[in-house]
Point group: C2
Chain length 178, copies 2
Amino acid sequence: MTDPNRQALGERLKPLVRDIPDFPQAGIMFRDITTLLADGTAFRQAVDGMAEGFTGIDKVVIIESRGFILGTPIAYALGAGVVPVRKPGRLPAPTYAEAYSLEYRNDELEIHQDAILPGEQVLIVDDLLATGGTVAATIRLVERLEGKVAGVSVLAELSDLRGRDRVPGYRVHSLIVY
Amino acid sequence: MTDPNRQALGERLKPLVRDIPDFPQAGIMFRDITTLLADGTAFRQAVDGMAEGFTGIDKVVIIESRGFILGTPIAYALGAGVVPVRKPGRLPAPTYAEAYSLEYRNDELEIHQDAILPGEQVLIVDDLLATGGTVAATIRLVERLEGKVAGVSVLAELSDLRGRDRVPGYRVHSLIVY
């Protein structure tokens, strides 16, 4: 898919996202993707659009929890395995951790130490690219396991927050741009 | 897929699940499915096996958070929409809530009030059927929205805990049985 085609798909899907002001706190405009997900046709188009252009992927890394929703059908479509990156204490085997700061809080993300083999091609998926802190921390986790980051694919990007600038040199695809 | 075929697939996939004793607390044998998910071929077989036999599904209800991982590729494969059932406070629009007791804690689950239309055919997906409390609460949420529960599909079932008995009269498919 060319960039203009991806943008055109994003513009068609955008009206299906519901805007909810002041969630989870005052001053935040929450982009609620559940209304898009509930539409089977739109959901499939979003998944296909987000997977498009990434080939030879061994593992799709999915970021808890809304990244889980879009990442696993992309892995299914690409024939790749799935690797969850989770909040602290939820992965049961030995992990590595990375700290990050999000738009409205601080947290840590963990990955299983044996989740990715050196040299594997990895696609990182999340629902939203905001400040880029979550994605940057996930890239650090993947590279600590010597995985190769083939790209980052998100459903929606809040372009004002310039998250893309936090991960220079990486291929970042977003369908819907705000 | 016949029941014996489903069981045979489950037996092939079972060795890919990693057993972790005393997680998240002493006395619990945690069935870690991340090792299965990381194998692209096994992941795809699991998704196809869990979707098999369910047709005419309008919405797949996915239970936070590990249900998110398996539920969305099943929805993608079936051409259905996705409806997340989440822990309290995470869904941004008006919700209904149901309480449940899990194997090792109590909690509540929420669904958006507009997530399912009356009469829609609904498949409920989770990773694990343990005591059945989570699935029973999710069935109550779906029926409160007047959705029709076509069935429940889980990757693994802890048969000793008799979760199946908590949801009599519903079609419950599990791939891997412990």
